[in-house]
Symmetry: C2
Subunit: 343 residues, 2 copies
């Protein structure tokens, strides 16, 4: 869809965009005494410990309007943020949207973007409570979310214990496979690659899983996988002052990920370890909790697999154990957003 539109009746002024964001937002709701429309939103006290997360998405860096629809862009931006709340075990409550749009944006673009944002938000009880709209040469979205842990503690990444089982939800690398497909000219509508495309464009944040794990006190540490298992597990280990041993042949990968990697002569394990943006949960737990965790996970998110992929060790560093008995250090091999391209 064209972002700008030369038919001026279809393009929007600032006041119109503010009005549309206002219509997609709440003025009042439980816990929210003043929503959108003032200098700041006003939240009632007493909802428990608040978890706050913020994420910035920039066109051409995090998404390409050539292959993502405005609806999916809204949905994906919300998914990335909800994933962070899920990783704390917090119940989503309020969203604050900063939206940068080029001059004279098309009404349809803004409408569908807000629909995508709100669709996933509403699935998780989230209310759009405030924001800012500005002009920007690139479409830019910042979402700040507030969620609450009422009567239980949020799960940090700094509390992994030696001997913990390291687990992931779902499968890894599919988002990277979908991105590879799209960046290499594959159609966003291709039916064979659909699962990988959907994993990239419409990821599902594991909010319900995170909530159930935290509320039941079943895990010692948790985070979401946004920059790849290798980098994110290294961050968790560094924060906890521990190390990790990862079993390469246990890392869950979807059939489509292996298939697209074979087609592209890429290593699917590489996609699973460093691909990023899977938005699955990575957590560590006493091995004795695994059975109960899998049962609870089935109730929270039916059909979602939980897989142990290794264990927490005492020595620093994240080591990948390969089937041949080899060991490779994989700490910090993931995506660096600021790495210079080779000249």
């Amino acid at each position: 869809m064209a972002l700008s539109n030369s038919n001026t009746s279809e393009t929007l002024t600032e006041e119109q965009i503010i009005a549309m964001v206002g219509a997609a937002s709440a003025k009042q709701a439980p816990g929210l005494s003043m929503g959108i429309g003032d200098d700041a939103a006003v939240l009632e006290p007493g909802l428990g410990k608040a978890c706050v997360t913020t994420d910035l998405l920039v066109e051409k860096v995090h998404f390409d309007l050539a292959y993502i629809t405005p609806h999916d862009l809204g949905l994906r931006a919300m998914a990335a943020n909800l994933s962070d709340l899920g990783a704390m075990g917090a119940k989503p409550a309020f969203a604050f949207l900063s939206l940068g749009l080029p001059k004279s944006p098309a009404r349809k673009f803004v409408q569908e973007l807000l629909q995508g944002l709100n669709r996933l938000g509403q699935d998780h009880g989230l209310i759009l409570a405030g924001g800012d709209t500005v002009r920007s040469p690139m479409v830019t979205l910042n979402i700040c979310l507030i969620g609450y842990c009422k009567g239980y503690e949020p799960i940090l990444r700094a509390t992994a214990q030696k001997g913990d089982a390291i687990c992931v939800s779902g499968n890894l690398g599919a988002s990277r496979a979908g991105l590879f497909w799209l960046q290499n000219g594959g159609s966003p509508h291709d039916s064979t690659a659909q699962k990988a495309i959907a994993a990239h464009l419409r990821p599902l944040p594991r909010v319900n899983l995170g909530l159930t794990l935290a509320q039941n006190g079943l895990v010692n540490s948790m985070m979401d996988i946004s920059d790849g298992l290798a980098t994110d597990l290294a961050r968790l280990c560094r924060a906890s002052g521990v190390g990790a041993s990862v079993w390469s042949d246990h890392i869950p990968m979807a059939q489509i990920t292996r298939g697209l990697a074979a087609q592209a002569a890429q290593d699917p394990l590489d996609w699973a370890l460093t691909g990023g943006e899977d938005f699955e949960l990575l957590f560590t737990c006493p091995p004795g909790n695994l059975v109960e965790i899998k049962e609870k996970a089935q109730k929270a998110e039916p059909g979602l697999a939980i897989t142990q992929v290794g264990e927490i060790t005492q020595e620093n560093g994240v080591f990948l154990e390969l089937p041949q008995g080899e060991t490779r250090e994989i700490s910090l091999t993931g995506f660096d957003h600021f790495k210079q391209e080779p000249a």
Copy 2:
């Protein structure tokens, strides 16, 4: 200062930027049980009603690195947000920074930006509690602030009453005068234009004034002036279901604003009404409160003028009363960030 630097020893990786933002942030503080370094920050409950505001700033739209230093950029971004908390009468508490930077940003740029952000933040008791760093072709900053009103109500813009005095703090149009100077090739270091330049590059948010007005229950409605008195007063009136009469010869303007306008053959009144980004407070109050307000304001922000510029009326619309007895409607004549340039 060069944003990128071909000397690679001076440019930063993502982990280095995260570490720098981490060093500028709090891990733990009163009310903050987990600061930067996890999927989300964790705030303790029980601090009162929370006011949340978010603002997005994009290079070339909101600032030009040709004439703003990284330090002043950080300070200005924080000022714009603090101004919103001031306009609610909330006490600043926590900041969440999303930072978009081009590839291989220079260490000095990031360092000075964070210093500018934190300098103004610390003046107001604000703690950097979380954030996100990403790559972006344009320098992009989103700041989300949380402040609290403990034991008193935040002041909304929707509660102006017929007969209220309309007041502004400080003087209007100086930021626009400074921007005009800079955009037309004036030196950022010129001593004669310094007050206007400072008003644009280093505005002072009226947090202490807003706090004292709210805590003492002296005003009926309040907001900050970010898009110009004409547009912002029209918003306040629309939200309150009232109108306004503005006395043109009472609008406070600095000598430098009049001087630069005369030099540029511009109307200083136009700058004061539609210039925007003054970050002064606009509030309405029972006329009988004016004396106490001025006394309290002197204690909160010594030397800051409070000026009545008109009164709230019953009929819709904002009308400017000119000295010749003429009246002009000025609702919504301010800056539209999305207005199309003439073809």
